[in-house]
């Protein structure tokens, strides 16, 4: 039901992101989705990758503070209005969104994906199971590699 996101604390300085992403490249870790939440002094890098546990180990070895978090991935059709439907459904079950990010993809089963981190996520996920929203599990993600 959930997929694993890896997040890392990164200071705002030139070249830092290139360095971090470079380490993932060297270890042949594929990035499916990415977002950065930025403040004046630092950013929180959030990634959905092919090997979250491997990426965690790698970035820790490079002295980064990292964290694995369960997030919800929703499959969408890449066409007007499909995200609006999902968000209305979220509203119906009273799910409050901490953050989200979206991207298009090339899977045989869907061609867009939205990552959600919800408040009271376990409870919300139970309710979503009964809705029309199509959640993606970690197995489905493997097709993207």
């Amino acid at each position: 039901m959930f997929i694993t996101q890896i997040s890392a604390f990164i200071e705002n300085k030139p070249g830092r992101l290139a360095e971090v992403i470079g380490w993932l490249a060297e270890d042949n870790i594929n990035i499916h989705a990415l977002s950065i939440a930025d403040t004046t002094d630092f950013g929180i890098l959030r990634l959905i990758v092919s090997d979250a546990v491997g990426a965690q180990k790698l970035l820790k070895n490079h002295n980064l503070t990292v964290k694995l978090t369960d997030v919800i991935a929703v499959a969408l059709e890449h066409k007007p209005g499909s995200l609006a439907v999902v968000l209305r459904e979220m509203e119906k079950i009273n799910a409050s969104i901490e953050y989200m990010y979206a991207f298009t993809s090339h899977s045989a089963h869907h061609n867009a994906m939205v990552i959600f981190r919800l408040e009271n996520q376990d409870e919300a996920a139970e309710k979503l199971k009964d809705s029309d929203i199509k959640l993606i599990g970690s197995e489905a993600l493997k097709e993207l590699d």
Binding site: F9, E11, T39, D41, I44, R46, N63, L64, V66, R117
Partner: protein, 438 residues
């Protein structure tokens, strides 16, 4: 005005001969030691450990045999353990922030407060102030001794006192101009800041009537004195003091600006070697140690200030016989003075311990921006401080900042940084970077 024409508040005691002063000191030292021995069990046992009886202390020469008192002793006897009078006789209590939340507490009897005002009056008059002056006191009023200390002396000389306290620079400068303040009391960095701010409010120093400034509570250089004098159009004096001994007015420089006269009829100064703690000769730098010989509420014997200075007993051209200490040249511990407030890195460390579970690596960066001290605490983000959403990080940052501010009583900035980004030497992080150039 000729220097020698400047009035003394107490000519008899300020220009007393060294021999006469020594007689007073010996007599006051003996009664202080007797009083502490009989009334303060904590210090009595310290004397007993050294096999000392009050009768062993006959003159100032014997002072070197007595045990020291440190800030730790004040903490160990918190809050009233070193008071030599019952609380009934205590008129006022002051306190400074301490590590792990415990403050350093001091108590004054009515007579102590009079002595304090007397010493402050001598300082103000030594600077050239008198009853015709308007004294604006921009030290903090409250537990900090600066505000009320300066206030008492200014009232005693019969000046008109403006208890402006700290903050709100626009209002301070407006009052200074409209009320015609002639004497300013504040920290030297704030004096400089006010000088720089004049133009922001469409003023110049010609709009002000300032003649003298009595600045203290933090170390400053001769260069800074000249800068302040230039910007505010006044003559600047360096006043020294610490709450444990009295507050401001323990010493101050005279119009010859050749060292700070210590009021030796009330405070006996010593300089000791920072490693052997043996007294050193005049002119040699060491740790400044004070013994109060005219206080009732909380007399202290050989209190180690941790301030580094030297001392001279040569008579000054101003006619005063009271010994002069040099401007402070540093500290023998890691204490920082930020906007006049004493800050120990361990205070910040204890907050981090409490807030982050384990003490993360941190660094305190002190700077002076537009003549105002700033403090930034950089903290390496450990896993228990990290959150995957911004709100969570901001809450953490704000919580730590609020805790530090409440412990220290001054504002600060908290910046979260990556692990291992704070430089370490021999595995240990350098805790303090002080970028201020005095």
């Amino acid at each position: 005005m000729s220097y020698l024409n400047r009035p003394y508040w107490n000519r008899a005691i300020e220009t007393i001969s060294r021999d006469e002063l020594t007689v007073i000191q010996n007599q006051r030292l003996r009664s202080t030691v007797e009083k502490i021995y009989s009334r303060v069990p904590y210090y009595r046992s310290k004397m007993q450990e050294k096999g000392l009886l009050p009768a062993d202390i006959k003159t100032v020469e014997d002072l070197k045999n007595l045990p020291f008192v440190t800030k730790q002793d004040l903490r160990d006897t918190y809050p009233y353990g070193l008071f030599a009078e019952p609380l009934d006789a205590i008129s006022r209590i002051h306190a400074s922030s301490g590590t792990t939340g415990k403050q350093t507490v001091v108590g004054y009897t009515k007579r102590d407060l009079d002595l304090w005002s007397e010493c402050m009056a001598r300082c103000l008059m030594m600077a050239g102030a008198d009853h015709t002056d308007i004294v604006q006191v921009c030290y903090g009023y409250g537990l900090f001794t600066g505000g009320l200390g300066a206030h008492g002396g200014a009232e005693l000389i019969g000046a008109s006192v403006i208890p402006a306290s700290t903050g709100n620079t626009r209002r301070q400068l407006t009052m200074m101009k409209d009320f015609g303040s002639t004497v300013l009391c504040c920290t030297p960095s704030y004096a400089l800041y006010m000088g720089d701010s004049l133009k922001d409010y469409g003023m110049t120093k010609k709009d002000l009537k300032l003649k003298f400034g009595v600045f203290g509570a933090e170390p400053w250089s001769v260069n800074m004195r000249h800068e302040i004098e230039d910007r505010l159009g006044l003559e600047a004096f360096d006043i020294y003091g610490l709450s444990e001994i009295m507050g401001p007015s323990v010493s101050q420089d005279c119009p010859y600006h050749a060292g700070l006269h210590v009021w030796e009829d009330a405070f006996l100064p010593e300089i000791v070697d920072t490693e052997t703690f043996e007294p050193v000769p005049d002119g040699v730098l060491g740790e400044l140690v004070f013994t109060t010989i005219d206080k009732e509420g909380m007399p202290l014997i050989r209190y180690r200030t941790r301030d580094i200075a030297s001392i001279t007993h040569e008579k000054c051209e101003c006619g005063r016989v009271h010994a002069r200490m040099s401007k402070l040249s540093g500290r023998s511990d890691d204490m920082l003075i930020i906007r006049g407030v004493n800050v120990f890195p361990s205070q910040i460390e204890s907050v981090l311990l409490e807030e982050a579970g384990a003490a993360p690596h941190y660094q305190i960066i002190v700077d002076r921006i537009n003549n105002l001290d700033t403090m930034t605490v950089e903290i390496e983000v450990s896993e228990n401080l990290f959150s995957d959403y911004v709100k969570g990080m901001e809450v953490t940052e704000n919580r730590i900042r609020a805790m530090i501010e409440s412990v220290l009583g001054i504002s600060c900035k908290v910046r979260l940084v990556e692990p291992k980004s704070i430089p370490r030497s021999e595995g240990k992080a350098k805790r303090v970077i002080d970028k201020r150039v005095l």
